[in-house]
């Protein structure tokens, strides 16, 4: 079965500093991994995904994520945080042999001015 875990409920970072939101996965086979963002009172928006190929994936709004097979991680990163990046971030992966994505519990990112 494939699942994801987000070990942090909340991440705080100062504007202009780099940010990292962590995600680890457990996999049987090749992983498909996704990051989504949810702004207040909105639905989820797709940020980026890893299917195969380069371990560094670039996505929307300047975000990127690094697939690390040895550490079974897919951490979301951004070199310089903006206050407007404050939101809830979800890591996701299809579960088991199905096409149904399961989501991590979410990490609240707070960027302080």
């Amino acid at each position: 079965a494939q699942s994801v875990a987000q070990p942090e409920d909340q991440v705080n970072v100062a504007e202009g500093n780099p940010l990292t939101v962590k995600c680890t996965y457990s996999v049987s086979g090749n992983p498909y991994l996704f990051w989504y963002v949810q702004y207040p009172n909105r639905g989820l928006q797709f940020l980026l995904k890893y299917i195969t190929g380069d371990n560094l994936v670039k996505g929307s709004y300047g975000f990127e994520a690094e697939f690390n097979k040895s550490q079974t991680s897919f951490h979301l990163k951004k070199p310089s945080a903006l206050v407007s990046d404050s939101a809830l971030y979800f890591c996701a992966a299809p579960s088991g042999g199905s096409y149904i994505p399961t989501f991590g519990r979410g990490t609240s990112l707070i960027v302080h001015p």
Partner: protein, 114 residues
Amino acid sequence: GAGVSQSPSNKVTEKGKDVELRCDPISGHTALYWYRQSLGQGLEFLIYFQGNSAPDKSGLPSDRFSAERTGGSVSTLTIQRTQQEDSAVYLCASSPIFSGNTIYFGEGSWLTVV
């Protein structure tokens, strides 16, 4: 349409009443998903439709919950005899088939049971 459309965006209902939530997926997407997000919680899978196949209902929390998808497009999630614990955001998403594809979410239907 251009995106996943959900209605109503907000619904307040009295305990014990039935509610219907509608989802109109992105045109051409064969897969449709319903999730529930309770306050401060992650996403809970409810049901999955893929083309003409039998839906995966494994996430429905009780027999008060049901969903259908007519003509392989629009889907309706029905909650009978609503309870206060049903208060949540109900999110619909759609995608082309294959697990490597991105799923796209609607804005959600905010349900409050009073």
